[in-house]
Amino acid sequence: MGVYVSLLVRRYLTTRIIPLIAVGAVALCVALVTVVVSVMSGFLENLRNSGRTLMGDVVVSYPVQGIPWYEDLIADIERLPGAEAATPLVDTYGLVRMPYPDGGNKDVVTAQVWAIEPDSFARVTEFDRTIWWKPADAAQALAMAPDDPRRTLTGKEYGNAKAMRDADTGAPGALLGMHVSVVNQRQRDGSYRPRVDRWWMPSHEVTVTLVPISEKGQVSQSNSRVFKVVNEVMSGVFQVDRNRIFIPLKDGQELLRLDEAPVVDTDAEPDAQGNLPVIGTSPARATQVLVRAKPGVTPRELRDQVTEAYAAFWGRKAADRSVRVRPPAPDYVTVQTWEERLRDIIAPVERERQMMRILFSLTYLVCAGLILAIFWSIVSEKTRDVGILRAVGAGRLGVLRIFLAYGLVIGAVGSLAGAGLGWLIIRNINDIHMALGEDAPAWSWIAAYLLAALAGTMALRALVASRVLATLLHSVAALVLAGIGTGLYLHQGFLMWDPAVYYFATIPSQMDWTNAVVTCIGATVFSVLGAAVPAARAADIDPVRALRYE
């Protein structure tokens, strides 16, 4: 770039208001795209992370009837080169009778019940991390509010949660998703408090009712059991935290009659007591086996290994004549990666993100259009400057370069400012959202009205002095400020992000830097393209006419 080009670009940028407007316009476009796509990318990333966090890498599933001999299957899977650990799971739906309200008419909710073995489940998923009521370490305690209940914990609840049993009474324990209890309330700092202290769940019991399904697909007599709530879990996925409870695997199997049971000969004659003769044992069953991959092994690689392992497992059991209850054939068992299991959710979101990117690429055209309009006016205003530059020896290309470089700098500065603004918004998006959800503080609308009054006074003064532009500008400022004040006064607080709709309790707040960089480059390129037409027009200006231009 020539010296006079950089000198003039610098001066045009620093001594004029119009380029600042262009920079602001580009910045707003970039910030808009950055924020929207970052939230969508964060949402997708959360979906992916939560899938893996909650169910490991690969899921072997045979719902309702369950997979018998699952311990053997797990042993086979854990011998696979790509498998780190595997755990059985019984997944069903049931009713949960909550301890509140007072009196006999308690609240009953439907819930997804996961019966698990806590130790192996924690090895496959990040179950430990989701247990909420555990003593804070020194660093966490610093960030906690003074009245956060976690400050007073001794660690008993955490121990009970890991064992899924109340250490004092020996009663089986249940863990509830944080939003299963309607009493729990999320605070601005992300912590939780019960609305009424005594309904803090870990000190209460719930009754879980499950309905077994027979081999013939008929509903059997429901079974209920009381569980001590030993802790609550917070996965961050609202749908999970609102619906899911965890109980010990053995209890779940018993309630659903998937536990080990004698096999009777139904063709034989019953004995004197009416009992059929026992000819063997039906093993306990699990409806799913969750598997975690070793580091460096992709879920797809593990899925293929597990599929082969299941086929071998089934073949072995089918060939064993001593085995009376055979596992389901491989054709009827689903082996999927976590991503495949969540495909119905992830695929539409991915498509939506792509669509948003395409739609928001229109902002590039907005950038180009804005720059074109602003530069057209600048070139008209700078016609004489072009003549002067040509008179001192600058060529048409030099003039072209001035305005292209000007567009480049405006695009680059605007893009960087927009990415910075987007980063600030994304970083604080949940605080902003929470602030919008509350009534505006009195000082804000009082301040807006005071500023409106000040602007109105200045408009009157300008009117008396017959200054039309000042009167207009101050009047507009007074009206806008009065409107803002009224808006703030009437603002009742609203929350746009409904966790029930968007799965997660909080808005994703991770910056999508790849997208931000692409957006910045796109906005800069289109700014240069927008500047190109006025720049070419400037280069074509006849220097003699330019010098005579008034």
């Binding site: 770039m1 020539g2 010296v3 000198l7 002067i388 008179a391 048409r396 003699v544």
Partner: protein, 244 residues
Amino acid sequence: MTSSGHQPHAPAAPVAGGPILEARDVHRTYRLGRVEVPVLKGASIAVHPGEWVSILGSSGSGKSTLLHILGGLDRADRGHVAFRGEEIVGYSPRRLDRYRNDHVGFVFQFYHLLPELTVLENAMLPATVGVGMIEWSRRRHEVRERARALLDRLGLSHRFRHRPAELSGGERQRVAIARALMRNPEVLLADEPTGNLDARSGESLLEVIAEQHRAGLAVVMVTHDQWVAARADRTVHLADGRVA
């Protein structure tokens, strides 16, 4: 013509027996919509090294057009324009740009300074044209010193950092002269340089030009003021597109 391009020149060596700048039988017609307006109809002029020539004529006689053609800002439709005997009509646009930058300096009636630049930067402007950043880092100090020296000589040493809007008309025109002299040209082309100044400032400015002329600079000055034209070595009258 200099090959290094951006080293200030020594005053022009006289061309043996010939003019440094010459226009012969130059025609120029402007088109205003569908109407063609012939401005120059065979104008001729020759300027010798170190000579001060005034072109006198009424408004619309084609004085400024002739000056622009001599300076390579405009092209003749027909005729010959030569600098040191070399035809410039056939110059490529790039070479014509270099010609304006290396060999001539323009001064205009309305100063034509860039409002965003300081006095010093306006004066330095021709020396920044066609110079890359690397070369500039090597020559910046030298260029700045020359611009300071020129402005100092023109009595503007206290105005280096001011913007044109902060100067009087006479001061602005002196900055324009400093800019025109920055590349040490062989010919100064002045288009009504005193036309927008009061009598005292005009006289002062003419004295500055006279001083440069005494130092060997050829000057072509367009004016419609006989008194101003009288300062020149020679006056040519332009009427109806021809030298009378």
